[in-house]
């Protein structure tokens, strides 16, 4: 490689900038030129982008005559990333003097630009997984991948653990297939990933062929991170439960003032709006110097904020995960995380947003939103120190995504089912797909039923004269294009000023609750609702100071099991006082209250609290396994208890434990406790408990959207679908009653089982509990541990009573 023209050119270009390549970059270039696919694993801020990108450039420079046409597809999970990476790439190409164009294609790309690309594809295309599928859904799209040399999945760790990762896998399988059909085998696939627990698996998902030349290139570089918790003077200042943490906001002001630029991460969009208002309230001087950035803010505004971040114009930006990844904002030297980041990997990633240059230290502050979260801060610090980083489990056998993909191909140039089947079973996601499951998926989109009941009127994908499966109806094709993707949200409406100018988006659900004249905040502005017109929310500036914040029904992240384990250990240490953590000193008084009212669970204990009050009979248990596992565990324990006596529960949970609430007394003693937490009969009891709650039904909501059963509609692109309105819940019931073999239905149950339940994790937890001491206490009042669970509003029901009896008892209260 060292002797090649391209390599020399790159090295001399770096020299003029007084830079030289890192070892991992050179390694990547060499492997790439040798025809390898692979995975680059390096911390942020060390030029991950330049590892694979420059490899492709070197190869391009080495060609005897300039190559044209699409060479490199660069997949990014976030739209905001594409713009910045494109800018960096263009600069390099210009300085080196390689006449390649860099194009961006995603939801923000204008129609004109997309048309331009269709005429002449740029050499480098930056794209989201969804837009890549949209490209496959276009007529004539199959020819553009002919000369493609490389596909890169940037921030692969972020895509891997979601159905978007499956979108990438499927697109890759198709593009490889197309190249093979052309007698071409030049394509190399590279993932770029931050450190995760299962880095080898990450490679095997993106390059699934066992006989492929593939390698992991690991940077032997370490990013220094400084973590500091923002602690209250007195623990009493902080509430026992909550997600907002405004009580400590005043402590943020000096941090913002003394830093160059601060990024403030908050877990939800709604909370970020409230924080923005609050910071301005307590420090009016910040007006015009802080901004707010999240996925529901209009593209133009986001652009402006990102540009201002680059130029150092802003003192602070409040952001959600929309700014989580790779964008390199040089002036940012401080990061604040408000509320639990729920996992070590995410926390480190966010920390990496500051001090982006190789040798700088990343500085991150953790601001707890409720008292117990301070313990989490101590746990995160320890986990980060020990590099105890989570794995991202890839999705498999997601029929909703498969069905969407098949229709995507049918909307595009059509597909040959035999060829596509061979491509699909090469992917990690569908390597276990059985021929009969494939046949079901094909029937689902072609005949609308199983082999016995083909429906004449069913029209979706039909076999064309050339033998390919295609979508003939323009209406179905258009509707499908609008719904490509696996991120499911409520229908979103654009928000626009009466005088013109877009501000952002809110969920239709939120708009349905407000009246003309009501005010709400979006993008940090107080807006007065005027009317809805053409699927757009029309507003004017409001004179009010305060207003409600729209809630976006984003998913709530569960605590990772890595963090849960460290957290249990920290609980042990608080009362012992044999620790070095200032955080634990701060919460000490709270643990004294817990100890006085009930008990502080030790590492080898499971605490159960039985509390009776006006609301009814509560059972609290604290396994510290994260919200998702608690949801299942709560249902399991409720189910087992309900086998002992006819009883009805409502179930609530948070990351620390779960609550069963009943209006009749709950049977409980030592022997019952060990029995209901027993790993015996686990699989069977879980199946029965999942069936009797609505967990699968909730999973089905996403599945119904992704597989195209339910239409979401898109902002500004309102599709009239007369007489086709239906809800995912209704489909779920209908399939449950009349079509038990429906694989989408099965997927819903399996998603509960494998993704949410993490069966090994649950079994491990139950074995741990069997070997622990179960401590049952009967507190008179709520305890610091139980209170946050009790106030959580997401609840499920579980009952072993006759429905009629329940109604009989409940109705006495209804009309009171």
């Amino acid at each position: 490689m060292q002797k090649t023209k391209g390599y020399k050119q790159i090295i001399s270009w770096l020299k003029t900038d007084k830079k030289k390549p890192f070892d991992f970059q050179k390694e990547t270039w060499q492997h790439y030129l040798d025809g390898y696919s692979g995975l680059v694993n390096a911390p942020t801020g060390f030029g991950k982008t330049f590892s694979v990108f420059l490899a492709v450039v070197i190869e391009g420079l080495n060609q005897p005559k300039p190559v044209k046409g699409l060479q490199l597809i660069w997949i990014t999970p976030l739209r905001s990333l594409a713009k910045d990476i494109a800018r960096a790439m263009r600069e390099v190409l210009l300085e080196i003097g390689l006449d390649w164009h860099v194009g961006v294609r995603n939801g923000d790309t204008s129609q004109a630009e997309k048309l331009q690309q269709k005429k002449a594809m740029p050499e480098i295309l930056l794209i989201t997984p969804e837009s890549l599928h949209l490209l496959l859904a276009q007529k004539g799209s199959t020819s553009i991948f002919k000369n493609l040399n490389c596909i890169v999945a940037d921030e692969w760790h972020e895509l891997l653990g979601s159905k978007r990762g499956v979108l990438v896998e499927l697109a890759l399988s198709r593009i490889k297939g197309l190249q093979k059909a052309n007698g071409n085998q030049i394509l190399r696939v590279w993932g770029i990933s931050a450190t995760i627990g299962n880095i080898q698996e990450a490679l095997d998902v993106i390059v699934p062929e066992t006989d492929a030349k593939k390698i992991i290139v690991k940077a032997k570089l370490e990013k220094k991170i400084e973590i500091k918790t923002i602690l209250p003077e007195k623990i009493e200042t902080l509430p026992w439960a909550g997600h907002l943490g405004l009580k400590l906001a005043h402590k943020l002001i000096p941090i913002i003032e003394k830093s160059k630029t601060t990024l403030i991460f908050i877990n939800t969009r709604g909370q970020s709006e409230i924080w923005y208002q609050h910071l301005l309230d307590i420090e009016p001087d910040l007006a015009g110097r802080i901004a707010i950035h999240h996925g529901s803010i209009d593209f133009e505004l986001r652009n402006w904020i990102e540009d201002s971040l680059h130029s150092g114009l802003l003192k602070a930006v409040i952001a959600t995960s929309s700014l989580d990844l790779g964008v390199d904002f040089k002036p940012v030297d401080t990061v604040v995380q408000i509320g639990s980041p729920k996992g070590v990997a995410r926390f480190l990633q966010r920390a990496g947003r500051s001090g982006h240059s190789p040798n700088e230290i990343s500085k991150i502050y953790f601001l707890p939103t409720h008292a117990l979260e301070i313990v989490e801060a101590a746990a995160i610090k320890e986990a980060a120190r020990e590099n105890n980083i989570e794995s991202r489990e890839p999705f498999v056998m997601v029929f909703d995504t498969l069905i969407q993909y098949l229709v995507t191909l049918a909307v595009g140039d059509g597909f040959d089912d035999k060829i596509i089947y061979q491509e699909i079973i090469q992917t990690n996601a569908f390597k276990e797909l059985l021929p009969e499951e494939w046949a079901w998926a094909m029937q689902f989109i072609t005949s609308g039923g199983d082999s016995l009941t083909a429906y004449n009127e069913f029209k979706k994908v039909v076999k064309d004269d050339d033998g390919l499966w295609k979508v003939k109806s323009r209406q179905i094709a258009m509707r499908h294009r609008l719904h490509i993707g696996t991120i499911v949200s409520d229908a979103m409406l654009k928000v626009k000023f009466l005088s013109g100018g877009y501000i952002g988006m809110v969920e239709e659900y939120f708009v349905s609750k407000i009246k003309t004249g009501d005010s709400f905040i979006l993008a940090g502005r107080v807006l007065e609702f005027v009317q809805i017109k053409d699927m757009t929310v029309i507003v004017r500036r409001s004179k009010q100071k305060k207003a409600m914040s729209p809630s976006w029904l984003g998913g709530r992240l569960p605590l990772s099991s890595n963090l849960g384990a460290v957290l249990r250990k920290k609980y042990n240490e608080v009362l012992d006082k044999k620790h070095q953590d200032e955080e634990l000193d701060t919460v000490y008084p709270l643990f004294l209250i817990q100890q006085e009212r009930s008990h502080v669970p030790r590492n080898d204990e499971l605490l159960i609290e039985m509390i009776n009050n006006r609301e009814g009979f509560h059972l609290f248990a604290y396994p510290f396994e994260g919200r998702l596992v608690h949801e299942i565990l709560g249902a399991l324990v409720a189910y087992r208890l309900s086998k002992l006596v006819p009883i009805t529960f409502s179930i609530a949970m948070n990351d620390y434990g779960f609550e069963l609430l009943s209006d009749t007394e709950i049977p409980m003693d030592d022997s019952i406790a060990y029995e209901v937490f027993s790993p015996k009969n686990l699989a069977e009891d879980i199946t029965l408990s999942i069936n009797s709650t609505e967990m699968a039904k909730r999973k089905f909501r996403d599945i119904a959207c992704i597989s195209g059963l339910v239409f979401q509609g898109y902002p500004g692109k309102y599709v009239k679908n007369k007489h086709l309105q239906s809800s995912a819940d209704l489909f779920f019931n209908v399939f449950n009653d009349f079509d038990k073999h429906n694989l989408l239905l099965r997927q819903a149950y399996e998603e509960v089982f494998y993704q949410q339940l993490e069966e090994p994790r649950l079994a491990a937890a139950l074995h741990r509990i069997q070997n622990s001491n179960i401590v049952i206490t009967y507190p008179k009042r709520f305890t610091p541990l139980s209170f946050p669970v009790k106030v959580d509003s997401l609840r499920a029901n579980m009952s072993s009573e006759e429905l009629e009896q329940r109604i009989e008892r409940m109705k006495k209260e209804v009309f009171k």
Binding site: F458, I476, H723, S726, V734, R795, E804, F815
Partner: protein, 211 residues
């Protein structure tokens, strides 16, 4: 369950129908026949057992009550003509002794001839029995009789202090009007907020319960 409205006896059936013994009239609302097929036409796989099941339930009701008249209180056919209407026509031949009445609803946009061919008497906007005025949307009623409507697909939510909640389809009887549950299983629910003196009857899989 038997109840009395304006001195007239009514039987509420858990299969989402009411029967008036004095008039030998069985009334249902929002049958939405052809909805599954309409979805299939648009490329959404819904098994046809859904509509067959609805017809089977209706068949059982006709056997059980032996009515002279079956009144469908609007939204009989979901959308345009499709195969499920053919199936209905064949099914209906078994009940030539029962007279079918349709009170038109917002979904009923078929050609007049179709109803004539099927021997269905069509009323618009309402049909009055001795004591009651049947109309699809009670909001549009201007009769002095007690009106019985449909259209809403009513449901009731019941909850208690222990944060438990149930959502069930229901019959609603207010001071001047009643609302029937949607007959088809392939329909959603719209939750009602009943007033103090209103009577609401929830429908469970096994019976009708007053709440």
């Amino acid at each position: 369950m038997k109840i009395e409205i304006r001195g007239e006896e009514l039987i509420l059936d858990k299969e989402r129908a009411i029967f008036l013994p004095n008039e030998k009239l069985l009334a249902i609302s929002d049958l939405h026949l052809g909805k599954a097929a309409h979805f299939r036409k648009a490329g959404l796989s819904i098994p046809n057992t859904v509509s067959r099941n609805d017809l089977l339930r209706l068949e059982n009701l006709l056997h059980k009550y032996q009515p002279k008249t079956l009144l469908i209180n609007g939204d009989m056919f979901h959308s345009d003509y499709n195969t499920e209407i053919d199936e209905f026509a064949k099914w209906k031949e078994n009940f030539n002794k029962v007279s079918f009445i349709l009170v038109k609803g917002n979904h009923d946009r078929q050609k007049e001839e179709l109803y004539a061919d099927l021997a269905i008497e069509v009323y618009e906007p309402s049909y009055s029995s001795t004591k009651f005025c049947f109309i699809h949307d009670v909001a549009e009623c201007n009769s002095n009789l007690y009106s019985i409507g449909g259209h809403l697909h009513p449901g009731i939510s019941i909850y208690n202090k222990a944060k438990q909640r149930l959502k069930l389809p229901c019959f609603y009887f207010g001071e001047n009007h009643a609302i029937l549950p949607a007959f088809s299983i392939f329909t959603g629910l719209q939750l009602l907020k009943p007033k103090e003196d209103d009577q609401v009857f929830a429908i469970t899989p096994t019976k009708v319960v007053k709440v």
